[in-house]
């Protein structure tokens, strides 16, 4: 044991023990069993044999008009099994490369189990998924055990994270290339609503009235927009806002009050007035900005957790006002809310409630505009002040950052984006009452930001998409969505507090760019390894040594 320890401390890869440890033999055996199970599952699924009936209902698939999910499942099973076998054969030859096949295969199996549970065509799928889950978890756990880590050595134990790799590649691209790739991504996103319901994983199977695939995409995009707005407050400035739904509600109510025929304060009397909705969007944003100012000005001097409770109170006050103030009509609400302008040649409105595509494209366009705006803010003095406040408010204050003013800025900008998405919501639904603005929705918004990775714009958009799309896609778990996302919040904070796509690396990049802009060269700080490693990895900017 002490000899092994001595070998480990020398740190060199060649010093690892020649023979693989017993845990890896055990991991290989379990992985082999898993591979056999996977192949068996693939065969039974493909030919609709008896064991597959335990968890899969072929008749239901047929009635839903496609075998898409089934084909994907068979292919995925076979690919995972092949990867497992590759890994086992590498381990048998005492090569650490086996880890490269076994670990991703293990994770993929876990993901597949979760997917089957989400689909849950039959009750007995739970047993089936549990078997696979355990079979995958055992080798994974063994691969990460201490003797295995020691045998693999450091370079195989902690390989570069794929997110980090993508991020580094992206950061090394030039500005024009980044723009070009962004355009390609947006173009792909724009054609997504054309994917029909027969495409596996994407298309909705259950089409409840009013939620087909484009509409659920629109809702997901709306959540992404909300997540970007909340991210300015929570992710950038580090202010926990639990009343964000209040701003969303104000945006929706402003549009409803000014354009609905039910409203006593209607400004745009003709519901076909093409400018009604368009004119109301900036008004809604300005009014939510003012409400953000009204909430922020007295409360932003509070500490973080007090602020959270006060914002929660604000969200509740907005909802209770909607309940109780007579002109806001409580539960009865407002109908006939204006829509964006435009008609097809046959005279029907382009932005109809039932057609999600134009709404989705409009939202994507707005997201792009908001992203450019927020991204530029992030790279500006304001963004740097936000980061400083988030990391250490006292230190920022001492360094001369007017923290109160910048916190207020974050609040107001976040609020206006919330108002914008509220206006979109009101336009698409065409009906606003007090039912959609309860505090648990605020927490759902927060979950979107935290899940995706607070502070990372791409991350929070992914988070918003998941929060909205998962309950739409897997309708049999829609009832449990708050439970699932509540547990996800705890699990994330315990195991991955930075979210699925963390933000740390990017912020370091901004700090580095700022430093280089200031000194005209790469940083020369002798504060230790952290500063040195960032300087060496700065890539594109690193060449400007004077």
């Amino acid at each position: 044991m002490s000899a092994n320890l001595a070998e480990a401390t020398t740190g060199a890869t060649e010093d690892r023990p020649e023979r693989r440890p017993t845990v890896l033999v055990a991991a290989g055996i379990v992985a082999a069993v898993l591979a056999v199970f996977l192949v068996a599952a693939a065969i039974t699924l493909a030919f609709d044999l008896w064991p597959a009936h335990l968890f899969h209902d072929a008749a239901k698939d047929r009635s839903n008009g496609g075998y898409g999910d089934l084909i994907v499942a068979v292919v995925v099973n076979l690919v995972i099994a092949a990867s497992l076998l590759m890994g086992i054969s590498q381990l048998m030859k005492d090569r650490p490369q086996g880890r490269r096949f076994l670990v991703p295969a293990g994770w993929a199996t876990l993901a597949m189990c979760i997917f089957w549970l989400l689909m849950a065509q039959k009750e007995s799928v739970v047993i089936w998924a549990a078997v696979f889950f355990v079979l995958a978890l055992v080798p994974l756990g063994l691969m990460f055990s201490a003797p295995a880590d020691q045998w693999f050595g450091p370079e195989w134990t902690a390989p570069a994270h794929p997110v980090t790799l993508v991020r580094e590649r992206w950061n090394s691209l030039g500005r024009q290339q980044q723009w070009m790739w962004s355009l390609i991504v947006v173009a792909v996103i724009v054609i997504v609503p054309y994917i029909g319901s027969d495409v596996p994983l994407f298309g909705l199977i259950n089409t409840e009235p009013g939620t087909d695939f484009p509409i659920s995409l629109f809702n997901a995009a709306r959540y992404a927009l909300i997540a970007i707005g909340l991210n300015v407050v929570v992710g950038q400035a580090g202010l926990l806002d639990l009343g964000y739904v209040g701003f969303f509600a104000i945006g929706a109510y402003v549009v409803a009050l000014f354009t609905s025929t039910d409203s006593g304060m209607q400004v745009f009397h003709d519901p076909n007035n093409p400018w009604a909705w368009l004119a109301c969007v900036p008004i809604a944003m300005v009014i939510t900005m003012i409400s953000g100012l009204l909430l922020g000005a007295p409360t932003l001097r509070l500490r973080g957790d007090y602020l959270a409770i006060v914002t929660l109170g604000f969200g509740e006050i907005v909802r209770l006002l909607a309940d109780n103030v007579t002109p806001l009509k409580g539960n009865i609400g407002f109908q006939n809310i204006a829509r964006p302008p435009g008609h097809h040649s046959d005279g029907t409105a382009i932005f109809a409630q039932t057609n999600g595509k134009p709404w989705f494209w409009l939202t994507v366009g707005l997201i792009v505009v908001v992203l450019i705006f927020v991204g530029n803010l992030e790279r500006s003095r304001v963004g740097r002040a936000w980061v400083a406040i988030r990391e250490d408010e006292d230190a920022a204050e001492i360094m001369g950052v007017p923290t109160f003013r910048f916190k207020l800025w974050a609040f107001v900008i976040g609020a206006s984006i919330g108002g914008l998405s509220g206006a979109l919501f009101a336009g698409q639904i065409g009906f606003v009452n007090n039912q959609k603005f309860d505090p648990v929705t605020s927490i759902l918004f927060l979950a979107a930001v935290v899940l995706g990775g607070s502070g990372n714009k791409v991350g929070v958009m992914v988070g918003g998409f998941l929060i909205s799309y998962i309950p739409d896609r897997f309708t049999n778990i829609a009832e449990y969505k708050f439970l699932i996302f509540g547990i996800a919040l705890i699990a994330l904070m315990l195991f991955r507090p930075q979210g699925l796509l963390g933000a740390r690396q990017r912020l370091l990049t901004y700090g580095r760019q700022a430093y280089q802009a200031l000194t005209g060269g790469p940083e020369r700080l002798d504060t230790g390894a952290g500063a040195m490693s960032t300087a060496s990895s700065s890539g594109a900017m690193g060449g400007q040594v004077p």
Partner: protein, 334 residues
Amino acid sequence: MLHASGTVLAGPDWIHFDTTSLHQLFWVDTFSGLTYGAIYALIALGYTLVYGLLKLINFAHSEVFISGAFAAYFTLKLCGFSPGLAYATGMIGIVGFLVLATVVAAGVSSGVALLVERVAYKPLRSRNAPSLVFLITAIGASLAIQQIIFVWRGANAEPSIQLVIPQPELQVFSATINNLQITIVIAAIVLMFVIDQFIRRTRIGRGIRAVAQDPTTATLMGVNRERVIMQTFMIGGIAAGIAASFYIMYIPSGVIYNGGFLLGIKAFVAAVLGGIGNLRGALLGGLILGLAETYGSTLFGSAWHDVVAYVLLIVVLMFRPTGLLGESLGKSRA
């Protein structure tokens, strides 16, 4: 536009200042407000203890409370009582069943509080996570427990079991006080006194105060910090369980899965109002909040009942964030 401004000048028509009925109902409101306030104070105790010790808003405390309420409700149901009936069991029998329900509620609440502490907070504490992470975890825990109850019992409220029929006992000024109000207010005050003395005089209380003052030094002096934290969560849970038992006795609307949220927020407001981290402050804050709410709902109409708490919270935090008695748990002397 002209019309709108005219309405504002005359006072908007959706809000009334009903001063006459406030005058008439003043004493009725006072006693009902004190009863609500006593319940708030007991819940606020959990917030204030945990905050005093860990500087953490235990957002899941509202769910600690509501799980106690469900426990008390189902204990009574298991004892053979069902909603909507009047029982002729003798005085001693009723008291016995209520004590049993209270004990079960206190046990379940403190169990849930401990569970939340162990599962959600302890790992973060050992990692020295920032306070925002604690709060997000707490929100997640709150949502998860609430939704577990939702999945179990559904969206409808359990009908309330009226074990004790409110009977007028005393006539004070223009108001009658019923037996429930007397019991709850006196029990809550006695309980708060007992817990206050417990924190001040006993060995466990000394440990709690030591950790609240200076965790590192307390650990060096041989105080087991983790055990003290668990004890604190348990005391808070017991108080919440007793409050839950009072709640199902006094409030006829029954228990519902998300019923904890509103009471949790109000109890938090009560704790902040009295000075969070201060046990006597929790009692004072609870009673003041209860009074303010009932007066407010008579003055503005019952629809505005819940707005009072939120407005009070914002006002307190703006003008006196340390609360009325603003003193920390650690500073109270032995």
